[in-house]
């Protein structure tokens, strides 16, 4: 009985409490930088596409909403097309975790409503940004051992020249 009255009283007191609702369109919520929103493809510090079309993100995606095709130019791999179907994406961030080159990144933007469903399929032009996203200094080809024009094997950062395995000399 007193429990009931106390409940009533405490509920009544909530009249003076601050409301927790964020009145969204007027006051915008503070989104942390690592918020999982709209997906982008970033570029490396030299302004080249980071994505190497390894397909790891497409494999990791639990809802299979990433589709891409590999193309090659001067020893560099890049996606010929890169398509994300945002009407299926669940914004889990697995693609970002799977990506070996920090190319695919989720951003704190969620305002991507559309009236027509096909408009939610983003092509590479829609995804690609001109900056580096969350990782300003990273460039995959500078640290990897892949051979590209202007950088031979063994010339990457923190990399030693390749060992000639057929030679017995130290």
């Amino acid at each position: 009985m007193f429990g009931i009255l106390r409940t009533l009283w405490l509920t009544f007191l909530h009249m003076g409490h601050r409301r927790v609702t964020v009145g969204y369109p007027e006051t915008r919520p503070a989104l942390p930088p690592r918020y999982r929103g709209r997906i982008i493809l970033s570029r490396d510090p030299d302004g080249l596409e980071r994505c190497v079309a390894c397909n790891l993100c497409a494999v990791a995606c639990p809802v299979d909403c990433i589709s891409l095709q590999k193309a090659e130019q001067d020893g560099r791999w890049y996606p010929e097309y890169f398509r994300i179907n945002f009407s299926r994406c669940i914004f889990c961030g697995f693609c970002e975790e799977a990506c070996p080159t920090y190319a695919i990144q989720l951003t704190p933007d969620f305002e991507m409503s559309e009236y027509v469903r096909p408009n939610l399929v983003y092509e590479k032009e829609d995804l690609l940004i001109s900056g580096t996203g969350k990782y300003p200094d990273y460039s995959f080809y500078r640290v990897s051992g892949v051979e590209i024009p202007g950088k031979d094997k063994g010339e990457a950062e923190r990399e030693q020249p390749p060992v000639d395995v057929r030679s017995l000399l130290p």
Binding site: L8, T11, H14, R19
Partner: protein, 318 residues
């Protein structure tokens, strides 16, 4: 001067239906307030036109009658609900002069009679829907409302005995010195709880019982028929609040302000109490509800009658 009856009828109808509609908004805003959120605040200033928007939406919904339902009864049920509530308002004295039926000498009995008929609305709705959840809801409503009606009547007997009249106007006039809520506090509490059960509002909304019965007796209803149930529920809240005001809180009486305003203020406060109850309390189990009714509230109301009778006898001259 008594206003002409047609004016009173029209005014009551308009005010009541408007009030019942607005209450949907008031309730949601108040619930929001007590739960640290906003509630509807988009349509119009402070969301004031939310009720209008809901009304338009519900009018344009497909008015669907399930093929397995008993058509005539299915259509009739919501109308009965609305009708009984409106009928009961006929005898509520808003001020000394302002009531539709004038001064009916069995006013209180009339209210109970119409409220008793209100059960039919719920039971028939549950029956005509021809689906098990609706039927369960209807059956619960029948048991709940009939058992709570018993001591709803009994709890007011104290008031009637003290006044010596069933006329609501006499009852209000008898409270000129002291509101009945003080000498009849037991009856007041019992009546209030019975009133909540009677309007099947939370925490006694077992006929609806969303988490076990879908939506109870109105599971199969949609469109404006559902809207009718909804409106009659809110009108029922206003009715019970007005009744409590009349019986226990001195009706229109109060200093300074005009009588109608006093009546409105008291009724409004009670409506807010109804909403607060909804915001704060969980729903009891069904057997708990029945046990509370028969094992606690019924003896309490009998005790109230005996005590009131004893006091009256002792006070009686000679």
């Amino acid at each position: 001067m008594t206003p002409p009856p047609l004016v009173v009828i029209a005014a009551t109808l308009v005010v009541l239906l408007g009030l019942a509609t607005m209450l949907t908004w008031v309730e949601r805003r108040l619930l929001g307030l007590w739960q640290d959120r906003y509630g509807p605040n988009r349509v119009g200033p402070g969301g004031l036109f939310q009720a209008v928007a809901d009304g338009i939406k519900i009018l344009f919904k497909q008015d669907w009658i399930p093929p397995f339902a008993d058509r005539p009864v299915f259509v009739l049920a919501p109308a009965i609900g609305m009708m009984t509530v409106l009928l009961a308002f006929g005898v509520i004295p808003v001020t000394a002069l302002w009531s539709i039926a004038g001064d009916l000498n069995v006013g209180l009995l009339f209210v109970f009679a119409t409220m008793g008929l209100g059960v039919y609305s719920v039971v028939l709705a549950g029956w005509a829907s021809n689906s098990k959840y609706a039927l369960l809801g209807g059956m619960r409503a029948a048991a709940q409302m009939i058992s709570y009606e018993v001591f709803m009547g009994l709890s007011t007997l104290g008031v009637v005995m003290t006044t010596g009249s069933f006329s609501l106007r006499d009852i209000v006039q008898a409270q000129a010195g002291l509101w009945f809520v003080i000498p009849q506090c037991l009856g007041f509490v019992v009546f209030l709880m019975a009133g909540i059960a009677e309007t099947h509002r939370l925490p006694f909304d077992l006929p609806e019982g969303e988490n076990e019965l879908g939506a109870g007796f109105h599971t199969e209803y949609s469109g404006m028929k559902f809207g009718m149930f909804f409106l009659s529920e809110y009108a029922g809240i206003v009715l019970v609040s007005a009744l409590v005001t009349t019986l226990y809180l001195g009706g229109w009486q109060g200093p300074v302000l005009p009588p109608a305003l006093w009546f409105a203020a008291k009724t409004g406060a009670l409506v807010c109490l109804f909403i607060l109850l909804r915001a704060a309390l969980p729903r009891p189990r069904y057997d708990q509800l029945m046990a509370l009714g028969w094992k606690i509230l019924l003896p309490l109301s009998l005790l109230n009658i005996v005590a009131t009778g004893a006091v009256l006898l002792l006070r009686a001259p000679g």
